[in-house]
Amino acid sequence: MSMKMNLIKHGAEGELQMIGYIDAGNAGEVDKTLVDLTHQFESLVLDMEKLEYVSSAGLRAFRHAYMAMRQKHGVLAAKNVGRSVMEVLEITGFTRLFKFI
């Protein structure tokens, strides 16, 4: 499935707009992008308004990003999380990884 990501920079804060589906086919690419961004920014906001779908492969990418952020005492935040994605985060306990703004 297809996935697009757009980065907006606000100084030390990066905001990543995620659009489409994160599945096992593209989670590796998402993982790499997120970990790169955790190195660049003090805090990273994932705008999930247009993220329609995330599977367990995508959750693993979120976990890597969270751990990389935690190690540098940064913040991983999420906003505009839609119903389907929120359901997946809630079932798996992954709501704990994000500061919701």
Partner: protein, 135 residues
């Protein structure tokens, strides 16, 4: 019943989820439920790709049927790998510690929570994992 045989390779994931999705769309399932079944189909197909055939290539067979009273879809995923019951293990621990410490188990947890019924059997040398979702 509609059947599809798909090579157990990650690049065929869209064939598996697409097959399921078009049947649900035709049957008039809501967008939300289609996404839930799509997710279950992905998790099961990816498990087959990852674990069913450690020594080489294999296939996954998907059997999809629409049933009534109540209106629902039943999808069975069949592989010829070693017997493996993914429902036998305990539900994944979702405490914070476990969340960070360990991989795996999340896919099956999602399937159990999002589907109305999940069952496994090993028959004629094949693993059959069946999910059902009400319309």
């Amino acid at each position: 019943m509609e059947k599809r045989i798909i090579p157990a390779r990650l690049e065929c994931l869209d064939d598996a989820t697409g097959f399921v999705e078009q049947i649900l769309e035709r049957a008039g399932f809501s967008e939300e439920k289609i996404l839930q079944v799509h997710l279950a189909a992905e998790e099961i197909f990816v498990n087959i790709v990852s674990y069913a055939y450690p020594s080489g290539e294999g296939e996954a067979e998907l059997r999809c049927e629409l049933l009534q009273t109540p209106d629902r879809v039943r999808i069975t995923f069949v592989d010829s790998g070693e017997p493996f019951d993914p429902l036998a293990r305990e539900d994944a621990d979702i405490s914070e510690e476990a969340l960070l410490g360990r991989e795996g188990g999340l896919g099956i947890l999602l399937i159990k929570k999002l589907m109305d019924n999940v069952s496994y059997r090993y028959v004629n040398g094949k693993n059959e994992l069946t999910i059902e979702k009400r319309k």
